[in-house]
Symmetry: C2
Subunit: 350 residues, 2 copies
């Protein structure tokens, strides 16, 4: 049995390695049906959601179509947390901020006796759950501001390289949704510019957006604080992150941020929570063909299930209310059901 198991394991590894070589060299398995090769979104089940994406792209990119849009105007915006990657049990950036507190306390031991840092350092999850919004703001200010923008990028990159999600035991940047990666790639292949429009911190997401999503830093719109320009002791110019919020990129802040940072109305917008409502409204209100979609987390087994729309469990992280669900039905926004629409959930090794 041991030998047989070993044989099967090695055989599987061999097939995996072979497939990887074939994929990486662009070779095509002649036995594979042609339609598999032609499908730009192979991780999607056939259905309304997938068809809507294909139809929208055809309508806006085929010359002669009444809804044709020139490439320069093809803008698609994507919320990140819960839309492009896993946001439960907690937003990755919040985990970062909490895990950064012990590092701060090593540099500044006096923090160990000061709240809310004392509670975070205690590791007492019940006490941490009782922290107020004001407490959280103190933690965000201490971990996201006060350093230069280059220092901050290095701190985030360092953490991302080491930290793993508790459930999957994989780096957070590997917990992106394969079906959404396919949408990003498909839209870019059709000359759309893909943007992240996130309530998360712009500087945080920019550290990994290019590698993780193929989205360059200049196409990340997020909550953004001010910086101040000065010189270090060697006279070299530096930009320091200040605790001054310039853009709260949630709710109405999303269309406001889109105007500030992009200056064009998107043709397509993807979200998953009430924080995306105004971005979808704003997108849909433009002329011609528009695509507005919401990811519904209804797959407790493969990922998570939360709403409270459609009787799903309530949550404070990525809330999708029944009101939002009803608005989607009324306004022609489409629901992506993780359970029904996605063949697989997580992307592998990016």
């Amino acid at each position: 049995m041991e030998l047989l198991h070993s044989f099967h394991t090695n055989r599987r590894k061999l097939i995996g390695a072979l497939a990887a070589v074939l994929v990486s060299t662009g070779a095509i398995l002649s036995a594979a049906p042609a339609q598999v090769q032609d499908d730009p979104m192979p991780s999607w089940n056939d259905g309304t959601a997938k068809q809507a994406i294909l139809d929208f792209v055809a309508a806006t990119t085929k010359e002669g179509s009444p809804d044709f849009v020139p490439p320069a105007e093809r803008i698609a915006t994507f919320d990140q947390d819960g839309t492009l990657w896993v946001e439960h049990p907690m937003y990755t950036q919040v985990i970062y901020c909490l895990e950064r507190v012990p590092v701060l306390a090593r540099a500044k031991p006096e923090l160990k006796e000061v709240e809310p840092f004392k509670t975070v350092l205690s590791g007492d999850r019940e006490a941490m759950a009782k922290l107020t919004m004001h407490d959280l703001e103190k933690i965000l200010a201490a971990t996201l501001t006060g350093m230069t923008v280059d220092e901050f990028s290095a701190q985030v990159a360092d953490w991302l390289a080491k930290s793993k999600d508790a459930r999957w035991k994989r780096p957070h940047t590997e917990l992106t949704y394969q079906p959404m990666q396919e949408v990003l790639q498909y839209l870019r292949a059709k000359e759309f510019k893909t943007y992240i429009v996130t309530g998360g911190g712009q500087d945080f997401v920019r550290v990994y957006s290019e590698k993780t999503y193929g989205i360059p830093p200049e196409q990340v719109v997020g909550s953004a604080g001010g910086t101040s320009y000065s010189y270090d002791s060697a006279g070299k110019p530096i930009l320091t992150k200040e605790p001054k919020l310039l853009l709260n990129d949630n709710d109405a802040g999303k269309p406001e941020g889109i105007h500030l940072m992009i200056g064009r109305r998107p043709l397509a917008a993807f979200g998953n929570s009430t924080g995306d409502e105004q971005m979808l409204e704003y997108t849909k209100a433009g002329d011609g063909a528009r695509l507005t979609m919401l990811v519904l987390h209804d797959d407790a087994e493969r990922e998570y299930a939360y709403g409270p729309a459609q009787g799903l469990p309530d949550t404070k992280v990525g809330t999708f209310t029944q009101t939002l669900y009803d608005q989607a039905e009324r306004d022609g926004w489409l629901i992506i059901s993780m359970r029904k629409d996605w063949k697989r959930i997580l992307a592998e090794g990016n």
Copy 2:
């Protein structure tokens, strides 16, 4: 003589028309020396400035060069007023604001009796020259805020189509510098992303940036006010321009704005006044080959002459101090002399 003159004039016109056809169809005059066709910047005289641009592009884009930079990181930023187009005798956007006051007064006759609008409406230039900064802010607030972003774009587009520069009797958008248009095009041909980074209003410049410079709205960074998201009487989402400054994109605000809007340090930066000092410092402080240049307006005959650097007349519009000139020499920023470096100044009909 009259006949001879007429013949020469017509001959010149004919040759001009023929050349235009050949250029527009991409045909190459076989008699023309190859180097003329190969020169990406034909409006520049040979010299230090032109050579510095060519050398920088070669160093950063040739595979194998020690200073090679991947295309994704090739960012070049350009101040607008006085760097890409004429800024004297007054910034175009300020002319817009002043010329917009009579339009406002027709809609709101009560303004006719309120300062500073009363003075602007009087047309008394001496009185207008005495307006304070506070007065100017009232005029900017009244003409640049309070409307939706779409209404504002339409108002600016309408004005640009009608208004002409007093000296050249041509639309303002035709008063761009041909040599700088060539730099923009050359850098883009070498896979640089070209950005405008202007102290002027971001929403103002975005109206014409694509048509005038080939720079899309999302690559315009400028002074930016907040907007507020709401709904019109038909329930359609609107963004209204608010009198709340988010980014003053001058001086230290330029590197701060570059970080906010682009998130990468430029490889090349072009300016012409003290307001560009920090942008050039920040650009030059990066590793590897960097190009930092300042346009010196030293051509009173073909354009304007102002400094007060190098004994040129002093000005409040686009001030280029001797201190800035000295810093340029010390830090390896290059001076572009309009008089010596540019064969021609204005671009034609864009």
